[in-house]
């Protein structure tokens, strides 16, 4: 029989299967190598890096680079390590994620279940705002933050990330709620539930997955942001990515690669952790943000 009996209809010869596995493994190596080598080398003393082979395991294992990156490395002018900036990023990301998700949920609810004239236009405008190059808002944003007297503060960054996160969170919740049966809303209306009661009692309890998607996506984006951090934070209020860049690209002194690597992994750790724990939602967020406009 030439026709596969199982649920897939495509068959290939065993030779090409070997080839396929080979290619897939090679690419797995390609994706793992840079990060893996970085991890290995963050546990080496500096001499082993400058004088040795990057792919060899440490002859002498050490966590000194990690300790240095965390608490003593020179960031800009202060030898504070990355710790305060890590905390900055958390203080910035958590409220910004929470606020933009809540607002996005309400917007999605209104745009799908309480359609009014012009709703599609508003959604279109919101949607386009997800994709603007943020360079176009840098100058006026700097002015506004100055006027509000929150320039160079974490509060300012929370505002910025919240504002430019609404578009995406609204998109998520709108697409999710569009598939949510409108009859449930009507039934609740007849039962006497009001606008917010329907949202709290009917919509939100069924929104777990999309809340996860929205939070994860927002967290990843905000944590990984560099442009806003570099533009609107100054000195001690900089987020992790900016501090890491300062650490790595500081022109003074010896380049402590192992410390840089430890710092880079620290900067990557939260989003990577989220990815490992909730990869399913992460992928869903990527898809929802791209395939379905």
């Amino acid at each position: 029989m030439a026709i596969a009996s199982a649920d897939t209809a495509i068959r290939s010869s065993s030779f090409s299967r070997v080839l396929i596995y080979l290619v897939l493994l090679l690419f797995a190596l390609f994706y793992l190598l840079p990060f893996g080598i970085m991890l290995v080398n963050s546990l080496k003393p500096l001499e082993e890096i400058t004088g040795g082979n990057m792919v060899s395991l440490p002859r002498e294992w050490t966590i000194a680079p990690w300790l240095s990156a965390w608490s003593t490395a020179q960031i800009g002018v202060e030898p504070t390590g990355l710790r305060p900036y890590f905390i900055n990023s958390i203080v910035m990301a958590v409220p910004a994620v929470a606020l933009s998700t809540i607002v996005g949920a309400l917007n999605g609810y209104v745009l799908t279940k309480w359609q009014f004239r012009g709703a599609t236009l508003i959604f279109g405008l919101l949607l386009f705002s997800c994709f603007i190059p943020f360079q176009i808002v840098l100058i006026p944003m700097a002015r506004i933050l100055g006027i509000l007297d929150i320039a160079g503060t974490t509060t300012g960054l929370i505002l910025v990330h919240f504002v430019y996160g609404i578009g995406f969170t609204t998109l998520y919740f709108r697409n999710y709620y569009a598939a949510f049966p409108t009859e449930l809303v009507r039934a609740a209306q007849i039962d006497g539930a009001g606008f917010f009661q329907i949202f709290w009692r009917i919509m939100l309890p069924s929104s777990g997955p999309i809340i996860a998607v929205s939070c994860i996506w927002q967290f990843t984006n905000i944590w990984n942001d560099f442009l806003f951090g570099a533009s609107f934070a100054s000195g001690g209020s900089a987020p992790m990515t900016v501090a890491l860049n300062n650490l790595v690209n500081s022109s003074t002194g010896v380049r402590e690669y192992n410390v840089h690597f430890a710092g880079a992994i620290m900067a990557a750790a939260p989003t990577l952790l989220v990815y490992i724990v909730a990869g399913r939602y992460f992928v869903r967020g990527l898809m929802a943000g791209s395939v379905k406009g």
Partner: protein, 371 residues
């Protein structure tokens, strides 16, 4: 004034009017079915009664209170949805009492009401389950329970049986009818299924294209359809509609049709109303229900005017209880409904017995019934 009054109600979306001057008066305890094909406006009308859609013009009144603009929850109505619309995150018990909770009914009263309804619908053992764990029939019961517990003035049903499989649908249909007989509630029920309409209703409004085509009891609708649409929509298989000419033969009016071999056939019409005379020698549409065409032994014994019709059988379709027999009349397939053991075969020349008491005539231009 009725219990539920729909007075000259219209609905427009922008410039498009989708519901034209609907006028229906529903009495207390009536079971009104709105039936029609999809897009006829029946669901829109139901949603307007519920308050889920605005009324463009006209008035809807429940118990003499005009409810235009009144919030759905303040109309004292309850609705059963096509998808049941059970809240997925709540248990069956919470689903049933949610409406009472929203109306501020104390917990003890809610629980008592829930127990009564659960007993009535025999769903006491399901109260702690989530809707996701229920079968289609059980969900249907819960949805009805949620409506019943409110003790509303009017029940609205939006195609409540269309998501059930065929057998369950028949069972639930009987159950709804029993419930109506027992509780004597006022019901407005939307369906596209004409059998549901016939079996359940005390009155039917047949809708098409935003107009109420005919409003009447099931028997009126079935026996005396107001126009060709109602005639063909109600009944399965639908009414045979044949082009015919009215002839005056010896002072009696006959419908002249052509048989399978182009031979002229005449069917005498007894007690023809005077209005038929206006159509003499003109073309009309002759409507005959399949069950009014039988084999001679199977003809209705109470009928006064059985006409014999000699024609060739083209196809027979045994359906268990009946056998459907097709024959070509006036160039159209005409279906006869016979006993299962009627001796009919394809190609055979057969003497059909046509019960002309049941025949109706339509004007081919206006499509309205003559008479």
């Amino acid at each position: 004034m009725g219990f539920l009054d729909i007075n000259n109600v219209t609905k427009s979306y922008g410039a498009v009017e989708v519901l034209h001057k609907v006028d229906i008066e529903v009495q207390e305890g009536e079971f009104l079915v709105l039936v029609g094909p999809s897009g006829c406006g029946k669901s829109t009308l139901l949603n307007m009664i519920a308050g889920l859609e605005g009324i463009t013009s006209g008035e809807i009144a429940i118990r003499d209170r005009v409810v235009n603009g009144v919030h759905p929850s303040k109309r004292n109505i309850a609705m059963v949805f096509q998808s049941y619309a059970l809240y997925p995150n709540m248990t069956v018990g919470q689903n049933i009492t949610f409406g009472l909770e929203m109306h501020g009914v104390p917990k003890a009263d809610r629980d008592r009401a829930m127990a009564d309804v659960a007993k009535l619908l025999q769903i006491e053992n399901l109260l702690d389950r989530k809707p996701g764990q229920l079968s289609g029939g059980q969900r249907q019961r819960v949805a009805m329970g949620r409506a019943l517990v409110r003790n509303p003035d009017v029940f609205l049903f939006d195609e409540p049986l269309s998501n059930l499989d065929a057998k369950l649908r028949v069972d639930m249909r009987t159950e709804i009818k029993k419930l109506h007989q027992k509780l004597g509630t006022t019901i407005v029920y939307v369906t596209h299924d004409q059998i549901e309409a016939m079996t359940l209703s005390t009155r039917i409004a047949v809708m098409y294209d935003g107009y109420v085509q005919q409003l009447g009891t099931p028997k009126e609708i079935y026996d005396n359809p107001a126009n060709l649409f109602v005639a063909s929509f109600m009944g399965s298989p639908s009414m045979n509609v044949l082009p015919a000419r009215l002839r005056d033969l010896n002072g009696e009016i006959h419908a002249e049709i052509t048989g399978a071999e182009d031979q002229s056939l005449h069917l005498r019409i007894e007690n023809a109303p005077e209005s038929y005379r206006a159509y003499l020698d003109a073309e009309v549409m002759l409507g005959i229900r399949p069950e009014a065409i039988t084999d001679p032994e199977g003809a209705d014994r109470n009928a006064r005017n059985i006409q014999s019709l000699h024609n060739t059988v083209s196809v027979t379709e045994p359906a268990g209880a009946d056998t459907f027999v097709s024959t070509t009349l006036s160039g159209k397939d005409c279906i006869a409904r016979m006993r299962a053991d009627a001796d009919v075969h394809p190609g055979q020349a057969f003497d059909f017995a046509v019960n002309m008491d049941k025949a109706v005539l339509f004007d081919p231009k206006t499509e309205e019934r003559i008479g």
